[in-house]
């Protein structure tokens, strides 16, 4: 872990008032993608939504094909936490979507200096699987997902 924060002064936004979903999209299997907004940023005690890393437009679900595309916007162009954020998103989604759904995670176009490299890592499932078996990385991911600081 680096000693200094990658982005010491993030811009923090107010949490959006969430509109409760009234339509039952896909019965019991329904995942509420809104849950991913509560994932904490790896560096600060704010959620990804508050840091504008994620927004409602970030998620595209194709129920027919069973495919999901998530795009997120790291707070700064050289964010080295981008892959950690991506991993958090994968872990969170794994438990909420049916297992056969295929999830692609990318940084929003133009939002990161190493966009291609980050996207490639995040979508190489062998790299993702190995990363999540790494205890240190796993701990970091769990902290982002389950901490109740908010």
């Amino acid at each position: 872990m680096t000693l200094g924060l990658i982005n010491a002064n993030p811009v923090v936004h107010a949490k959006k008032e969430r509109v409760a979903r009234t339509e039952d999209l896909h019965a019991d299997d329904a995942v509420d993608p809104l849950e991913i907004y509560d994932i904490l940023d790896p560096e600060h005690p704010y959620s990804l939504e508050q840091l504008s890393v994620l927004s409602e437009e970030s998620i595209t679900v194709d129920d027919k094909m069973g495919r999901i595309l998530i795009t997120f916007t790291p707070t700064i162009q050289h964010c080295s936490m981008a892959t950690v954020i991506g991993l958090c998103l994968r872990v969170k989604l794994k438990h909420f979507f049916p297992p056969h759904y295929k999830v692609d995670i990318k940084v929003s176009p133009g939002s990161h200096a190493d966009e291609e490299s980050v996207n490639k890592q995040l979508n190489d499932k062998e790299r993702v699987a190995a990363a999540l078996e790494n205890p240190n990385l796993r701990q970091l991911v769990d902290e982002c997902l389950y901490s109740n600081e908010l």
Binding site: H100, K102, K120, D124, K125, E126, R127, A130, E133
Partner: protein, 350 residues
């Protein structure tokens, strides 16, 4: 060689459950499936175990004969039988490669190969069983010499790939090693001098009509003058070498790109395997198994060299990580998936 036409069916023979996590890879024991010896294959999984499956000769059904556990401490990514079928090598994310021997029905771990800095992703035996190769995320390829008493000596650590190495595969007849990588290239390695002077003798990269994303696997035809590679770039590429120059043995005949099969897959292709009869099977992240054969009909210049024989949609519920044709008498194909199952298929001509 039989001329396959579209009158073929890939019939699901059996679904094997048992692993509690995704099945990454499987390998048929090459010494089985003939002369009354029941078919055996090994599978390896994210559940950290390896399972040995054997076909019951009377019922025809496969059952799990052994579970090799409590050895690897992380995902077992790849497995490979020695050519004699007596030893099984298993490569793991725990950075080790284990060697197992069948001792009177029980599989014992007789050796553990250490050295890689992190996840080992693939293991391969050469044609004579005298050499073993491994590769991993540390970007290196290791060559091990098999010595008496199940001792393994590392004879070379090959650097060259600039990223994670996904698979290694020995040429079917010569001691030439091929590796494919996250760096989008395929490298060819040979022993240049008299003793253990292994070097990269060719790189098949983007500039040689190579892949534009991670290359996941490669497979040779029986004679070893052609190979298919598969990639995250959604294509299969066919490469060939000059077989006459190759057989003369004196000089290395370079490989060159022959054709690219594009437009058939819409997600990463994880596995490709060439059967001894010339059918190429692919397993992909779109849950489909595809079979390709040489296109004998189109003799027009520029016509496709290979055509799709059949596409099995929803072969599994999730990504297919490995497809392997069986050795021996039958036309069987085994597939391994993220859904935790293995399926055995039979190719039938209609």
């Amino acid at each position: 060689m039989e001329n396959f036409n579209e009158g073929c069916e890939l019939k699901e023979f059996q679904t094997l459950e048992g692993h509690s996590d995704r099945v990454w890879s499987l390998a048929w024991n090459p010494a089985t499936g003939h002369s009354g010896i029941p078919y055996v294959f090994a599978s390896c999984s994210g559940d950290k175990t390896v399972r040995i499956w054997e076909q019951n000769l009377s019922t025809g059904l496969w059952g799990c004969k052994a579970v090799l556990d409590e050895t690897h401490t992380r995902t077992v990514r790849s497995c490979a039988w020695s050519p004699s079928g007596k030893l099984l090598a298993t490569a793991s994310f725990d950075a080790t490669t284990a060697i197992w021997e069948n001792v009177g029905g029980d599989f014992e771990c007789v050796s553990t190969l250490e050295g890689h800095e992190n996840e080992v992703k693939s293991v391969s035996w050469n044609a004579s069983g005298s050499l073993l190769a491994t590769c991993g995320r540390d970007k290196s390829v290791w060559i091990w010499e098999v010595q008496p008493g199940n001792e393994f000596e590392c004879v070379s650590v090959l650097q060259g790939h600039t990223q994670d190495v996904k698979m290694v595969q020995w040429h079917p007849t010569m001691d030439i090693l091929f590796s494919c990588s996250y760096d989008n290239s395929i490298k060819v390695w040979a022993d240049e001098g008299d003793s253990d002077d292994w070097q990269c003798i060719q790189t098949l990269g983007e500039s040689n009509n190579g892949h534009t994303s991670t290359v996941w696997a490669l497979s040779f035809n029986t004679s070893g003058d052609k190979m298919f590679t598969c990639s995250d770039d959604l294509t299969l590429k066919l490469w060939e070498t000059d077989s006459r120059r190759m057989q003369s043995g004196n000089e290395f005949a370079p490989w060159r790109h022959l054709c690219t099969l594009t437009g058939y897959h819409d997600r990463t292709i994880f596995s490709v395997h060439w059967s001894r009869e010339g059918i190429i099977a692919s397993g992909a992240a779109d849950d489909c198994i595809r079979l390709f054969v040489e296109n004998n009909e189109s003799l027009v210049d520029g016509g496709p060299l290979y055509k799709l024989l059949l596409k099995k949609e929803k072969a599994h519920n999730m990504d297919i990580n490995s497809v392997q044709w069986s050795p021996g008498e039958k036309r069987l194909l085994a597939s391994a998936s993220d859904d935790g199952t293995i399926k055995v298929w039979e190719l039938l001509s209609l």
